[in-house]
Amino acid sequence: MTDSTYRIHGATGEWEVVIGLEVHAQISTRAKLFSGASTEFGAEPNSQVSLVDAAMPGMLPVPNRECIRQAVRTGMALEARINPWSRFDRKNYFYADLPQGYQISQLYHPIVGEGEIEILLDDKDEGSAKTVGIERIHIEQDAGKLMHDQHPSFSYVDLNRSGVALMEIVSKPDMRSPEEAGAYVRKLRSILRYVGSCDGNMEQGSMRADVNVSVRKPGGELGTRTETKNVNSVRFIMAAIEYEANRQVDVLEGGGKIVQETRLFDPDKIETRSLRSKEEAHDYRYFPDPDLLPVELSDDFLIECRSSLPELPDAKRRRYENSLGLSPYNATVLTAEVETARWFEALLAGLGVTSAPAEPGAGAWTPASAEDQDKAKRAANWLLSDLFGALNRLGRSIEDSPVSPAQAAELLGLVADGTLSGTLGKQVFEIMLETGGDPAKIVEERGLKQTSDTGAIEKVIAEVLAANPDKVAEYRSGKDKLFGFFVGQTMRAMAGKGNPQVINDLLKKALA
């Protein structure tokens, strides 16, 4: 564990930044938290609104089991304490996007208590790991949406989002730099996507963060914090922290005081602004929602939540290193996104590589066979360079890769058994990307098979040497560099299909 060395260099010396994040993550469900209306993104205004979401008189909330289940699974994935007894409270305030006049949330008894997340500040270095504490996770309703630019004197209200389920994941004030905060959000997003509890789509607002920042002299008393609301990308979160930390240092060094307040992030100007218009004292008058009974989780429910958790990124990364022998960097990159890991594992399956997750609690892995480790390493390298390179070029994500894991396994097999040279392998891959065809068929149809037939190769070599008597003489008189020339000539004469190893061996003999 490393201590952050990130500092703001003020006029009076160095300042340390203390950061805590409240991440609002939309729980992936078909229906809303307390009504049967759809959560689908991008629908016509007010078309996904039930009478409950519009807070019609006499309407009542009935909770969606899946929202509870996903919050609990998320808590388990963060090694957090699950509270078998929790409760919904009302947070009372008036706003045009809040039909009930209150948000149903959890203040006094959240469903998930303390947990933690391990972040890596450097993908190549396990030693850069740092643990960020989770304070709690609670479930709450999202608000509707206001549009201010549609009419000169009205704001328009769309309640499609009203009542969509959110998890609010509250960290401890454990982060000390914008980079740590960025790594935390990326890791959290990765875990949520592994668990399947949130799609992590920040552009569509599925994840957004309230950023709490304060500054202090290194190791000193905690300063007063500000809360910058609803920041919706990792880049903006980091920018908001940097701006806000510098602003606070300026205020303090100017003899001023930090006011505990809510601020807004302006993504155009990359600055935070005080929300003075809403500054009037907030008094949310929380109390238990009398329309809802306490949430009591049965043992069976908890067992199902735990047993349905997938292997999580940290465990997967360690397995890739310890069982498959991958480099820490490759293991980290392959496990960062659940889709990459899923693709990679399908590729391994196609190659017949076996590597079982460690037994829970055992913390040790059985190394895969040397042969499997070799296959896994080749597969990892191929995926991270060839496949990622191609996807980058095509502007595609791995989920809609034109080449399937099974096709890729077949391709790697053809290279491994010498049917294709590395160069031919790349050629075939390009054709696969274009046509979506299977590699064996491509090789067959286009006659791209590598030849290791010594008789045929010797014949071509003889022709090459005969056509270049002067070069042969130069080589034999000590100009070793010409060896590459003969290889190239031979390969070209064979239209690239000669086995390079065999060509090398036979050329050496012929030129000796």
Binding site: L51, A54, A55, M56, P57, G58, M59, L60, P61, V62, P63, R90, N92, F94, A96, P99, Q100, G101, Y102, S155, V157, D283, R285, Y286, F287, P290, D291, L292, L293
Partner: protein, 493 residues
């Protein structure tokens, strides 16, 4: 005509079934009574076409042998129940013109059981009141008059005042009410009729305009205990749309009615004898004790030590919940909007709510807001929820020595309009006997027990164990059969 409006629910049902009356005739007779009864101001909306359509369906059903439990029975529906396409205002200006696109579960069940609707019944605004004087649509008058020769207008009680007045004046054979802290029982007592608030969770709250969610319960009001049982059977039942609804079968309360109380123990809570209550109340209570003894019950004295704290507990919890439940009336999605020329959203909220809510509703919202506000939550709201737990525990302990409790329903007979409006706490004291059972979610009923010196009805309250509506109804029936209560309001309207 007089004859037909003398028919109660069981009589109409049976008469329609055996063909001795036609549902159409019954509906027409009651529609005429509703029209003639307009001086009482019991109805906010009249829906004769609804009642007639249900009646015609009933008459056709008899012909085809497909009668339902309430075929041919016209009912009044308290204006707190959302009724599809029919104005639903909860007695408030802020909901004027609101026509829900949905039907409350309870009214929907009654209609599905064959009942028709005569109209919507006036009530205290958002059910906050004990005299029906807080209605935006004017007070309801009780059909009763004191026999002192004066013509003082009396309250029918509240908040289900329109409901009580309509049943008592024979404008409807039965009605729905709701009871948060006595709003079925106290008006029933004031008007000489019966009404039962079932166990919290028996009747779905879905589609009932919320006052205080942890206390609100719907229930029937009718002329006698049997009619209450019939209506309650149709109103009650599990509703997946209400998270607090009880997932239990509805008993056949009517079929099981029995006024034989042998083997039952009836507790008389010592703490309900309080100072300043008229001596007549005690007399009717003693009379009720004698009647239950006569029916075979054993009488035991019990103690409910936290009784005196019930009312202040109620007046923290109910306003707190109401302050939040009524936040949705903001002029955005339905109801009235008042937009001051100067000003934006906040000013629109403030003006809409200032003009839309009446004085008592504002007072309670303010109290509720105060007790939940920063720094006061523990001292008021949380303390009240703890005392509430103690009040519920008092009842639990009482059930160790008895099966039922008998108390007066209200501390006085009906009072005159305007007599208590100046003093909120004096008004709140009306519910001193009714509120404890509400806080504990227990089934409780009021039946007529006798009359006072002015000839005005006085009610007796029976409280039962959770889910034991049957014993409550049985004891009510025992009192009804023995009390010889036959007094009726003389028609003056």
């Amino acid at each position: 005509m007089t004859g037909l409006t003398d028919l109660g629910i069981a009589a109409i049902r049976d008469g329609v079934a055996d063909g001795s009356v036609s549902a159409r005739e019954v509906a027409e007779a009651y529609i005429a009574a509703v029209e003639a009864g307009r001086p009482l101001n019991a109805f906010t909306v009249e829906t004769p076409e609804h009642a007639l359509a249900a009646a015609d369906t009933a008459d056709a059903a008899r012909a085809s042998g497909e009668l339902k439990p309430l075929s041919g029975v016209p009912l009044g529906i308290k204006d707190l129940f959302a009724t599809e396409g029919v104005d639903t205002t909860a007695g408030s200006r802020i909901l004027s013109g609101f026509k829900p696109r949905y039907e409350s579960t309870v009214s929907g069940k009654l209609f599905a059981a064959g009942a028709g609707m005569l109209g919507k019944l006036n009530m205290d605004e958002f059910a906050m009141g004990s005299s029906n004087e807080t209605s935006a649509w004017g007070p309801v008058l009780s059909p009763w008059r004191r026999k002192d020769g004066g013509n003082a207008a009396l309250t029918p009680g509240g908040s289900s005042g329109g409901s009580a007045s309509a049943v008592s004046a024979r404008l409807a054979p039965g009605v729905t009410g709701t009871d948060t802290g006595g709003s079925i029982r106290q008006p029933a007592a004031f008007t000489g009729i019966s009404g039962i608030k079932p166990t919290y969770g028996r009747c779905s709250r879905w589609g009932i305009v919320a006052f205080a969610s942890s206390l609100d319960q719907a229930g029937p009001m009718a002329r006698d205990v049997r009619d209450c049982a019939i209506l309650l059977e149709a109103m009650a039942g599990f509703d997946p749309k209400d998270s607090t609804s009880l997932d239990l079968p509805v008993p056949n309360w009517e079929a099981a009615l029995s006024s034989d109380l042998r083997g039952k123990k009836v507790g008389i809570p010592r703490e309900y004898r309080i100072d300043g209550v008229p001596e007549e109340i005690g007399r009717v209570w003693d009379h009720g004790i004698a009647l239950l003894k006569d029916a075979g019950a054993e009488i035991v004295e019990v103690s409910l030590p936290h009784t005196k704290y019930a009312l202040p507990t109620y007046y923290i919890i109910a306003p707190a919940e109401a302050s939040s439940n009524l936040a949705r009336y903001d002029g955005v999605r339905y109801g009235r909007r008042v937009q001051p020329e100067q000003g934006g959203l906040t000013e629109m909220y403030e003006a809409t709510r200032a003009e839309g809510f009446g004085a008592e509703v504002k007072r309670r919202i303010m109290i509720g807001t105060y007790v939940l506000s920063a720094g006061f939550y523990d001292a008021y709201f949380n303390q009240a929820q703890k005392v509430r737990a103690l009040i519920a525990r008092d009842f639990d302990q009482a059930w160790a020595s008895c099966d039922l409790l008998l108390t007066p329903t209200a501390p006085s007979a009906a009072f005159g309009l305007g007599e208590k409006m100046a003093d909120p706490i004096a008004m709140y004291l009306n519910d001193v006997f009714a509120v404890p059972a509400s806080l504990a979610g227990l089934p409780a009923m009021s039946v007529p027990g006798g009359v006072d010196g002015q000839g005005l009805p006085l009610g007796l309250q029976i409280i039962g164990r959770p889910l034991d509506e049957q014993s409550v109804l049985d004891a009510g029936l025992a009192i009804e059969e023995r009390s010889g209560f036959t007094a009726r309001a003389e028609r003056w309207w």
